[in-house]
């Protein structure tokens, strides 16, 4: 009498994911059930349509950007078999950014250096929501596009343009009219990123 959905998830996989992401055993199996229920095609991977089927995500103004974060560019075979699909490991890796930061983790020695849910990595996740072409800079154009996603038709191009200009002015320290990741981090240094970009997972 084994489990149904988690019979496809081997213990070795769970251990590897545990090491990489820091989730507990039971959290991983619960999230696997969720992954499995979203995977309508039952092929062990999620496509963008699978995410779009979640109504609350579909009405989120940044829904498309968030979904995009699950599909990193290039095909790292560990996480995606094809460019438009993400497997469970890739799914967990992205979710791992939102684990709350625990004190005992600050001293842990992890193979990849910094844990996925560190403050820096959380900020980087948010940075990539704005950085559409993944060139590590938020240009005025990119900022305008993302702003347009968030406000819809309710604000004029002019007003939006001046908002974008002001935001870049505030953040830009090296005068290249773009926001780099370090400038982004500096502007948001007082924001409680650990709390605002974390989700309280149960058990």
């Amino acid at each position: 009498m084994g489990s149904r959905a988690s019979s496809l998830l081997r213990e070795e996989d769970i251990e590897e994911i545990k090491k990489e992401t820091g989730f507990s055993h039971s959290q991983i199996t619960r999230l696997y059930s969720r992954f499995h229920s979203l995977d309508k095609g039952e092929n062990g991977a999620l496509s963008r349509e699978d995410f779009q089927r979640i109504p609350e995500l579909a009405i989120n103004p940044l829904g498309d950007r968030i979904i995009n974060a699950f599909f990193p560019e290039g095909t790292n075979k560990k996480y995606t078999a094809r460019e438009d699909q993400v497997n469970f490991r890739g799914f967990m890796r992205t979710l791992a950014h939102f684990r709350p930061v625990e004190d005992n983790e600050k001293n842990k020695d992890l193979t990849s250096g910094e844990p996925l849910n560190s403050r820096t990595n959380k900020l980087h996740f948010a940075f990539q929501l704005y950085d559409l072409d993944r060139d590590d800079k938020i240009s005025r154009d990119e900022l305008l596009q993302v702003l347009r996603m968030m406000v819809g038709v309710n604000i004029s191009d002019e007003q939006l343009g001046s908002i974008a200009d002001r935001t870049i002015q505030e953040a830009d320290t090296n005068g290249d009219m773009c926001i780099s990741f370090s400038e982004f981090t500096k502007v948001l240094e007082k924001v409680d990123v650990e709390q605002k970009m974390s989700i309280r997972f149960l058990h």
């Binding site: 009498m1 959905a5 109504p55 103004p61 829904g63 929501l129 406000v151 002001r166």
Partner: protein, 451 residues
């Protein structure tokens, strides 16, 4: 050879007389011989024992902690204004025009990820997860092997359900439905009169009672004084086609629905002979005015039975009540709300039409332990002055959700198959825009929240 046939024939006769004598006749007279009650009691004891065994076994193995159906994450329930306001507090404020900060995206990001992990809508279209295993293979999602005794009990359960109960239930269902068709055709031959109506009611109730026995259904009706009356509209939350059997066991209703072909069509055509039901052709369904008119005419005639409508429009998994379509609430008349709550421990009544067709669904029903449910009749409601159909529908929905202990959602059950409307996203964008621009926009902001 002949000897074998004779024995089989005798066996069959005995079987049939048992069925008729112990099940059909009592059903016709609404009498219960108490077999089902005893069965349910034994079942409850067995399942309790099984639960304890599983919990003990899990502690011993120090395996996965018991998966509670509490959810994967704990969410904040702040509104968009509150959450973004908090985010911006630590950020130096922009004085001249525009109130945007880069950290605003955090709010949408967090909400989005939360919804990916756990959302309010998609979980309603699959069966509810049980807190502890009920000895059915089909609900065995996360439970491991515990002990030999448990396996034996499970095996015994399989034998009882498939070899003893299933044939019995199929026999009853066949008898019930045939009797419904034959009985209603016969009654239909009579001229219109009080006797005809009385006979029609009798035939209907008897058949539904036999069908209910065919599912080992134990139904508890509460507040019978609020039972729907003639000329009214009965609305209930929808979990499966069996809802009709459940409700019709305690009253007679006029059904509403689309004309089907096949077996359903036969049933529809025969029962409409003995008393008026409202069947629509597929083409008529599109014309909302025609539909409304026919329903209005029906309830205007006080001799006709109350209409039974399921305003959700589709089957939901009995953990929540989803948006009620306003059509039934625009007709006028008195609404009699009814809440139906199934006990998932004995059998999952939800019809996942994407996964199972009608026949496999019915077979699953007949191989569960039993169907146990509670039906609450709520006090009648009418539309108040200054209340439009949508608000009235929401009021009725809340009352039903509250009584049945179900979550009250305003999401459309149609999201099972369709995409969400763009207008909901536009509402979110509008709400956020007002936070950037400021007081000019505040007057027209909607109160729809992103949960």
């Amino acid at each position: 050879m002949e000897g074998a046939w004779e024995i089989a024939f005798v066996f069959f006769q005995v079987w049939l007389s048992i069925v008729v004598g112990l099940i059909m006749l009592p059903a016709m007279f609404g009498v219960s011989l108490g077999f089902t009650d005893i069965y349910i009691k034994v079942l409850v004891k067995t399942l309790e024992w099984a639960t304890l065994r599983i919990q003990r076994g899990q502690k011993e193995q120090a395996a996965l902690p018991s998966q509670s159906a509490n959810g994967i994450i704990e969410k904040d329930d702040g509104s968009m204004q509150e959450e973004i306001g908090e985010l911006r507090r630590s950020h130096p404020k922009n004085l001249a025009g525009g109130d945007f900060t880069l950290c605003d995206a955090f709010y949408f990001c967090k909400k989005g990820i939360e919804n990916i992990v756990e959302d309010q809508v998609t979980q309603r279209f699959t069966s509810e997860e049980l807190a502890s295993w009920n000895l059915l293979t089909r609900t065995n999602n996360n439970f491991c092997y515990i002990s030999l005794r448990l396996t034996i009990i499970w095996g015994l359960g399989v034998f009882i359900r498939y070899c003893i109960l299933l044939p019995l239930r199929i026999t009853l269902a066949v008898i019930g439905l045939s009797w419904l068709v034959i009985g209603t055709i016969l009654v239909g031959l009579l001229p219109s009169s009080n006797v005809k109506n009385w006979l029609s009611d009798l035939v209907h109730i008897t058949c539904y009672r036999i069908c209910a026995r065919g599912l080992s259904a134990t139904i508890r009706y509460h507040n019978k004084e609020n039972r729907p009356k003639k000329g009214g509209i009965c609305v209930a939350n929808h979990t499966s086609p069996i809802d009709i059997v459940i409700l019709a066991n305690d009253g007679c209703y006029a059904m509403v629905g689309q004309v089907h072909g096949g077996l359903m069509g036969v049933l529809q055509r025969s029962i409409v002979r003995s008393c008026p039901h409202v069947w629509f052709e597929r083409s008529e369904m599109k014309d909302r005015h025609a539909v409304a008119k026919r329903l209005k005419d029906h309830i205007a005639d006080k001799t006709k039975l109350p209409i039974l409508i399921f305003p959700e429009g589709t089957c939901i998994n009995n953990t929540s009540v989803m948006m009620f379509k306003k059509g039934s609430f625009e007709i006028g008349g008195t609404i009699y709300p009814v809440a139906i709550k199934y006990d998932p421990q004995f059998g999952d009544a939800f019809w996942n039409s994407a996964k199972y067709n009608m026949v496999s669904y019915l077979l699953r029903m007949m191989t569960s332990w039993a169907i146990v449910c509670n039906v609450w009749y709520l006090p009648p409601m009418t539309r108040q002055d200054g209340e439009d159909a949508v608000q009235f529908a929401n009021r009725v929905k809340s009352a039903i959700a509250h009584q049945g202990g179900l979550v009250d959602l305003s999401w459309d059950g149609g999201l099972k198959r369709e995409k969400v409307k763009e207008s909901l996203k536009e509402e979110q964008q509008k709400m956020y825009s007002s936070m950037i621009i400021g007081s000019d926009f505040n007057e027209n902001v909607n109160t729809q929240q992103l949960h």
